[in-house]
């Protein structure tokens, strides 16, 4: 994760809902801060604690698991 002056948020998202939601936000031109990065998974069931801890270790300020 690159650090920046604004909060770095890493989101683990399900392809079928939250990723589609982020796509819809784009299509609808809903503006939000640039510090958000998405990691696309086929299901948030794939997210284990290790990923979350690693993300924090690498400097994420916040995490979102959405699916």
């Amino acid at each position: 994760m690159a650090s920046d002056d604004q909060p770095q948020i890493l989101a683990f998202v399900c392809n079928w809902c939250a990723y589609a939601g982020a796509d819809l936000a784009g299509v609808s031109r809903i503006q939000y801060p640039t510090g958000v990065r998405l990691i696309r998974l086929m299901c948030t069931g794939r997210v284990n604690h290790g990923f979350l801890l690693k993300a924090f270790l690498k400097g994420a300020d916040g995490l979102l698991v959405s699916g």
Partner: protein, 1015 residues
Amino acid sequence: MTQKTRLTAQAEKTGSVTVIGSGIAGIQAALDVASSGFRVHLVEEKANVGGVMAQLDKTFPTNDCSSCMMGPKIAKLATHPDIEILAYTDVLGLNGEPGRFQVTLKKKARAVDPQKCVACNICAEKCPQKVPDPFNMHLQPRKAIYIPYPQAVPLVYTIDKEHCIYFKKGKCRVCEKVCNNKAILFDQEDEIITLETGALILAGGLELFDARRKQEYGYGRWPNVITSLQYERMLSAAGPFRGRIQRLSDGQRPGRIAWIQCVGSRDSHLGNDYCSSVCCMSATKQAMITREHSLDIDTTIFFIDMRAHGKGFDRFYERSASDNTVRYVRSLISRVVPNPEDDSLCITYCEPDRSLRDETYDMVVLSVGLCPNPSTVQLAKVIGVPLNEQGFIASQPLDIVATAKPGVYVCGGAQGPKDIPDSVQQGSSAAAQATAVLADSRGSLVAVPRSLPQRDVSAEAPSIGVFVCHCGVNIAGVVDVEAVADFARKLSNVTYATHCMFACSTDQLREMQQAISDHQLNRVVVASCTPRTHEPIFRKTLQEAGLNPYLFELANIREHDSWVHQAEPEAATQKAKELVRMSVSRARLLEPLYEGSYEVVQSALVIGGGLAGLSAALSFAQQGFEATLVERTAELGGNARTLAYTEDGSSPARYVQDLIEEVENQPLITVCKEAQVTSTVGSCGDFTSQIADKNGSRSISHGVVVVATGGQEYKPTEYLYGRHPRVVTQKEFEDLLQAAPEKAKQLQHVTMIQCVGSREPEFLYCSRVCCTAAVKNSLQLKTINPDAQISVLYRDIRTFGFKETAYLQARRQGVRFYRFELDRKPEVTRHADTLLVSVFDAQLQTTVQLPSDLVVLSAAIRPRPESRELAETLRLPLDEDGFFMEAHPKLRPLDFAAPGFFLCGLAQGPKFADESISQARGAVSRALAVLSRKKIATDSMINRVDAQLCRACGECEKACCFEAIKVKQVDSGRQQAVVTAAQCTGCGVCNVACPTGAASLAHYKDEQINRMIED
């Protein structure tokens, strides 16, 4: 038949089906037909597919997002190799005979070259002409060159020639100038083509009632009176107001909204005497969602009868009415009066005590009815298919997808007003009926998948190519794409990086293939838009360039970057670089994946020998597949045997007798009576079941299971039933009318009580058929004895759709209807040797005494008690009421979530005989996607187990929701977790549960994800 004559017969029929109309019914029909070995021509008069469902915000009773649900279906439609989408095309004529039709079509000129248009939207941005937007129900304008919504399929722009300045005045051509791809073709001409096709499915959908015809409600005159579909667009986050509820007069948020029901429905004055079936639930949904948007908005629905007759609807309605979430007022509204000062609207309604009351609203939503689509009506005339009295395509009693013309079928709104699940199951049913005629030519016209040689890259170090897309100005207008490409070039293992105008355009894809070969790339990263729409295109390009398609990664720098950070070009460029770096890191670790496959046992197991099960078994046989039909009792036919007649003049009892004969004489069907399924193991396409009967148990192999175990009439404990001979159920009354009409003729006073055992707190569902049954039996008694006095005590009359006409007829013939409330139910007492029914009429607000010779109870439909045991045997879910639960109440009403299992008939929920038959065939249609293939391909992105690391602890097995991973003894003799590829969905839950790291999901391995997090 000899081999030679068989081949001739095969050649005689065309192995394709033409589906006309591409709403949800047409889409379902197309997908089912194409998935069972036939080619599909999907014809749509509009520029893009999707129909009304694409315009909806949410759908009842789950309030799921409509376009999210439709997305996967449309994506499948767009990429299916055997579906040709002919959008913006009219049907001109039909010749020939069933099995060998010729359809003449006019492909209307879009004035845009579909091969060149990449939907960058630059033309629409620059187009100077604003025109009304029918997709958004005219709430906001669109441009003369357009796509209706961003996810439209086909994703090609169209010039609206009626409004285009160039086509009207001969000047402008702005779009031509700004189109980078030279896709604008002003002189493109309509093209007339003729297709050979075996059968036709009409799925032309509906049109909304024109609310201006109800002048008293002021639609078109008062700005804050809008239609239900306009409100739907208003609620949609992707709609013109981005989901903000506002008054059209001043853009202010309304404080109070009223819905008026039955606008253009149940209205004989307008000639629309039928019920539109969906509006009660649609208004309920809209009001609930309004309250979810903001609790400050008061919502009131003015209605006549609350028609919540579908599965899960009553629970939905009760939930909306509880806690005063939505206020319901039972009153016809005669007019809407505007207040010009603040554009508010006054509605006068009738209180239960019959006094009149005025209320002021900020906005009024008219729940407009569903009418025949004029173009379908026109088409029906052209091809010679008769319409019914209401102007919809007439279908056959008990065979609701068959038109009067052989080889031509109908489904969805074209057949009559209906909701999404009914449209979907009819779509499937029409697919089954259309393909049954063509069964001999299955597979004759389908595309043979090309097998392309793949380069073995296992020994090569990663050599990554990065392609950064401008997407016209969509990305390049915000992100410095050149800088991103330069950045990518410096990343390790990146051998080649470039930027291009439209990565997905045909010429650029060719260049990508060239680059793969020139630079010996073995991984590709494209930084462009969403993988949800574009991943398949790029994967295909890799395949054509000789690379495994899974060696590809997309970085979404459009939806997740340039579009959402429009005002911050620098930060957006920085983010794009980081997204590319993350993707490159992941790409280094990508591995080629290959699909597996296994053989399909091409036969079916049907459980239940009633109307649905018999229909399903016969339908399998008509399609050329063997079926085993297992019936628990000694006799086939189920409930239908006692259904002597219906309100539309058919006789399920006679029908089922013929059906039984046909099934028993059908060589492809094995009937097992007094038998039960005691176990089923295996997976989709390859099951083994044990069937036990009095002679013992035997084992059969089959590819699919259809559950059609039926339901039964509730035996009431209330209203003196079983304690007085003159209290009978509706079914018993029907028997009496049939078996002893002379005795029935003696009856002078008959009282019917509705909702006995239905819509009660512990059975919170509507049994769907009882209102129509009461009306039908009343009319029958009136035929036998016109002087009989019949009183029907009801809570809401739910004669939905065309059944409303039977209700009207009953009223006209003097059948009396008294409405009671749940908390003041009627009382039945003995009165000499007859009965006295006392009811508090909620409309008259007075108690009515009804001396009765006979009391008829409309008893609920209950699931069969044995379904619980079967559900455990098959590991299938039941709903809260004990009926079998489908995979999704809207879009997968006939599938179980477990692959290879399907359901139909009363086992799924209360329904009419014709609906059971239709569902049964629909379930077969769904099952054909499995049975019509010799082999099933398994997904590649599934879990693998590392035998070295697995210690057989079983955590994965416990975690898996799909029974796809189990600890078993393997060939080496040791215990190990084994994945059933056919059942694994690739969710990765087992990876999380696995303590040793033995379970590893292909394409989403720990290190593949970790590397993205690290970067």
